[in-house]
């Protein structure tokens, strides 16, 4: 664990020194002092390396010596032409792997304002995440050694306050990454519900529904998915009441798919890549992480999170292709493919969420379809919505936090793909337009009998897991959605 401190500018005598520099820079402040202390080594190195301060540009000097004392290295990082929170954060993320081998590092952010300094620190922290609890023989030298990360600021207390908010959000991100990274034998519905209880210490009201309550309520679609597994299903309802008693605005509802492992059920998946299916609960992970972020920074908004937790297994009690189940809404569903189980879980949750909370808007997140990866790859998550205004807000929030969305179409022609011969609908519409017919299915469980409710569905199958490092996301669980949802709430539903 690294301590992150904000201090008045003063050149350090040891450890790593990072110089964030914008395009067209002239060395000033600490950077200039460092150059002087190293007898111009910084200037010479930057010139020799062709360092211009472009975004992502990096130049490292090892053991610069001189009057600089015992600095292990000086790292210059480009901020681009006009540094903003995003570039500062990305630079912080890029800096992390370069300084993590030193016990101490100092960032010369004295030229940046408090907000950008905090963003730089947050980027470094986000990038520092690692999931190493199952490594029992890792050598100390392979672990990061950074104990203290200090950032220079003309207004340290201001930067510290700004960082406190970002740090609460990062806590939510880390929680989601932990949940998504956990192996499926460790993290099953009951255990995941138990971890949600941890949010109570942030002031979140947590309520867990087990199989008895669920069957009494009539969650037929979700229980059909769960019935093949030895692990019992759970629904967790998390309420953050931050708007205060004076507010009568309805809450924002966040709904997450939490299939802790998806074998496909009787419609068994092929073996190749099945291990990825431990992250089929990433939608729920993002909702839980977002609730932690929102509560952690004491957002002045009412937000309710609901996650449906099941394991999809083939067994003697498993649901069969051809079964017809009755959902909580009363609508019947012919199960054609037991591997299209996520939408069955969401169906009951969405209807329940609307009925119980009358939310002002509903956003569901799910690693729902492979088709969305074919459509959009790993750069964007698919956004489906019945409301242009909510869709715009989500697109903008996603762009701000580098969790990018791309709007996909809905329409009657796609809805026809899920017509069933014997029930109200079937649970798959075929490969062509597979993500869209899945979204159409979910839309049938947005209860609009008493008027429009803004709803958006994010298909995050392509963005929940990264196979290579990103600026602030080490490879593995990305926690895609946590920061996006937090930003959405911060931007539009607070105060």
């Amino acid at each position: 664990m690294t301590d992150i401190l904000f201090v008045k500018p003063a050149l350090p005598r040891s450890g790593a020194l990072v110089l964030p520099l914008a395009e067209g820079f002239t060395l000033a402040g600490l950077a200039r002092e460092a150059d002087a202390a190293t007898e111009g080594a910084v200037t010479r190195a930057l010139e020799a390396a062709g360092f211009k301060g472009r975004k992502g540009q990096i130049c490292t000097l090892w053991a610069p010596g001189g009057k600089g004392g015992h600095l292990s290295r000086i790292v210059a990082i480009g901020l681009g032409a006009t540094p903003d929170a995003r570039t500062a954060e990305a630079a912080g993320g890029a800096a992390w792997p370069l300084i993590a081998g030193d016990p101490e590092a100092f960032i010369a952010t004295d030229g940046l304002n408090a907000a950008l300094t905090a963003a730089f620190a947050s980027g470094a922290r986000l990038r520092s995440y690692r999931f190493d609890k199952y490594r029992t023989r890792e050598k100390a030298e392979d672990r990061p050694k950074l104990v203290r990360l200090s950032l220079a600021s003309a207004a340290p207390s201001e930067a510290k306050a700004a960082f406190a908010t970002l740090s609460a959000i990062a806590d939510g991100v880390f929680l989601a990454r932990d949940l998504v990274s956990e192996p499926p034998n460790v993290l099953f519905p009951e255990e995941m519900a138990e971890r949600c209880r941890g949010l109570e210490k942030l002031g979140v009201e947590v309520e867990v529904l087990g199989p008895k309550e669920l069957s009494k309520l009539g969650f037929g679609a979700m229980l059909g998915v769960a019935q093949g597994s030895a692990r019992e299903p759970r629904v967790v309802v998390m309420q953050w009441k931050g708007a205060g008693p004076a507010s009568d605005a309805p809450p924002v509802a966040l709904i997450g798919k939490g299939v802790t492992f998806d074998t496909g059920g009787i419609s068994l998946k092929s073996a190749g890549g099945m291990e990825d299916m431990k992250y089929d609960m990433a939608g729920a992970g993002a909702v839980i992480g977002a609730m932690a972020a929102i509560a952690g920074r004491k957002a002045r908004a009412d937000v309710v999170g609901l996650v449906g937790l099941v394991e999809n297994m083939p067994s003697g009690t498993a649901q069969r292709p051809g079964d017809v189940v009755t959902s909580y809404s009363g609508q019947t569903i012919e199960v054609i493919n037991t591997d299209a189980e996520g939408r069955l879980v969401l169906a009951d949750l969405l209807w329940y969420a609307r009925e119980r909370f009358r939310p002002r808007c509903m956003i569901d997140l799910a690693t729902l379809t492979g088709a969305i990866i074919v459509a959009l790859g790993h750069e964007h998550a698919g956004l489906f919505s019945n409301d242009d205004d909510l869709a715009q807000k989500l697109l903008a929030a996603g762009a701000e936090v580098e969790e990018k969305l791309w709007r996909m179409p809905l329409g009657e022609a796609y809805d026809k793909l899920i017509r069933s011969d014997i029930a109200d609908m079937k649970n798959v519409g075929g490969r062509p337009g597979g993500s869209i017919s899945a979204a159409q299915f979910i839309q049938r469980f947005i209860d609009t009998r008493e008027g429009h409710v803004a709803w958006a569905h994010l298909d995050i199958a392509g963005t929940a897991w990264a196979t290579k490092d990103g600026a602030t996301t080490p490879k593995g669980a990305t926690a895609f959605g946590v920061r996006l949802l937090d930003r959405l709430v911060a931007g539009h539903y607070e105060g």
Binding site: I373, L376, W406, P432
Partner: protein
């Protein structure tokens, strides 16, 4: 015409006769009675407007969408011509079997509404169908119908090319068929294998190498009257796609005779522009090849030098479309310095997985052109959806041995790949250093049996893209004062 194939009648456009009043014989024909909501029943003793067309004593009651302003404002959201076209098309199966001639009673409709219904019938009717259009002002309709006829003729021509089996539509024969467009004032240039070799069309020659029917490049030019750079269409013309050495599975392979639908659409659009004497200069660059298996077929692992000079590592011989388009796009940009270049191709299965059979995928580098294309598509019921172009620096197309590779290799454990996006990113690389406004339409979902569902564009089978492109030119490139 002696050379016409026996089934040409299938593709004969509908004949339409405008009438101000009906004679005795016409009065006896099956009659279509459009019925907008709220209007009085066109037949006595009918209480309720039916939801679907219904046949009653020689009359077909035809429910049409809500009433419109007359004339409909161009930007009125209430005016939805595709919905009217679709309503008319839905009438055909409700007519008694074997009906070849009918009367459309459009007396109470505006000219635009009457024409939308006639157009819907024309697009959906069997070849040789005849329609008497009964309207109060036939003289007002006549000039408008002339323009419609040009479009319908062009759609019919594209459909015929697409429907022609691959043994009868080889690259050479397709090129010869297009040569006949010269009679409409279109300049046609055909490059054979020798010319392609001399010019360096490495991508097109590699793909066509395995077939006994060598490739062609056909260039169509319509001069127009405006002194501006042309808009250029580029269409994929794979006359049959076996997949090459990366052979496709047998089931459904017959659809691959339609793998030249992009080229057919571009040529059809050129014909539409010529027939209505468009002032806008336009050109089409149509690479044609058969992707076959043969002793000279190109192999996975080959490195091909394309026309642009860039080398490409072949990964999958069944991703041949992007190779021939790479050469054609590069040629189009260099030969024409176009104002805009738009390519149409039945390119990837991924586009079908993404958007199904109801929308074609739209990629590009120019938001204004993309918006214009989307609007043109909505206006004719050939709907598109914008998709993201992968960012430069996406490592998917990095090759160890050449400038780039043609596609990402298949993941050994079967993980999904955004192949439609990769294909678009690949094509983007061949637009030169100063790329013009460019749009790429992946219309793979618009061919084959699966595409012909109840909500399919009426121009299917085979005519997708003709009205879209011709409509785009009319809306965007014919105004001499545009900026």
């Amino acid at each position: 015409m002696a050379s016409e194939p026996a089934d040409a009648a299938r593709f004969r456009p509908m004949r339409l006769r405008l009438r101000g009043r009906l004679g005795r014989k016409a009065a006896a024909r099956p009659r279509l009675l459009p019925w907008p909501p709220g209007a009085p029943a066109p037949l006595p003793d009918l209480a309720e407007r039916p939801a679907a067309p219904c046949w009653r004593e020689g009359r077909l009651l035809l429910p049409v969408p809500a009433d419109q302003a007359d004339p409909p404002a161009w930007n009125s959201s209430a005016w939805d011509p595709p919905a009217w076209e679709r309503a008319a098309a839905a009438a055909l199966p409700a007519l008694p079997e074997g009906t070849r001639r009918a009367v459309l009673d459009a007396r109470h409709l505006s000219p635009a509404q009457a024409l939308a219904l006639a157009r819907g019938l024309a697009l959906a009717a069997p070849g040789g169908f005849r329609l008497d259009l009964w309207h109060d002002r036939p003289e007002a309709l006549a000039p408008l119908w002339q323009a419609e006829r040009a479009m319908l003729k062009a759609v019919a021509r594209a459909r015929r090319w697409v429907a022609t089996p691959a043994n009868r539509l080889t690259p050479a024969r397709f090129a010869r068929a297009l040569k006949r467009l010269e009679r409409h004032g279109i300049a046609v240039q055909v490059l054979g294998r020798g010319a392609l070799e001399r010019a360096g069309f490495g991508g097109l020659l590699a793909v066509g190498g395995g077939s006994a029917h060598p490739p062609r490049l056909v260039v169509l030019r319509w001069a127009g009257r405006l002194a501006v750079p042309p808009v250029v269409f580029v269409g994929k013309g794979i006359t049959f796609d076996t997949g090459g050495l990366g052979l496709k599975r047998g089931a459904g392979m017959e659809v691959m005779r339609e793998d030249m639908a992009g080229a057919a659409a571009c040529a059809g659009a050129m014909l539409a522009l010529a027939l209505r004497d468009s002032p806008a200069p336009a050109a089409a660059v149509l690479p044609m090849a058969e992707n076959a298996i043969g002793a000279a077929a190109y192999r996975p692992g080959d490195v091909v030098a394309t026309l642009s000079g860039r080398t490409v590592e072949v990964v999958d011989t069944d991703a041949e479309g992007r190779l021939i388009l790479a050469d054609a796009l590069n040629y189009a940009v260099r030969a024409f310095r176009p104002e805009a270049v738009i390519d149409l191709a039945t390119l990837t299965g991924a586009a079908i997985t993404a958007l199904g059979h109801h929308r074609a995928a739209l990629y590009g580098n120019d938001p204004v052109l993309a918006a214009a294309l989307c609007a043109a598509g909505e206006a004719v019921g050939e709907r598109l959806w914008p998709m993201p172009l992968p960012q430069a620096g996406d490592a998917a197309l990095d090759s160890d041995i050449a400038d780039l590779r043609q596609c990402a290799p298949r993941d050994p454990s079967g993980r999904a790949q955004p192949d439609a996006g990769h294909a678009a990113a690949f094509l983007h690389e061949f637009l030169g250093d100063d790329p013009p406004a460019w749009a790429h339409l992946d219309m793979a979902g618009m061919v084959g049996e699966a595409a012909r569902g109840e909500d399919a564009p009426l121009s299917l089978p085979g005519g997708f893209g003709v009205r879209l492109l011709a409509g785009l030119v009319a809306a965007r490139f014919e105004d001499p004062h545009r900026i």
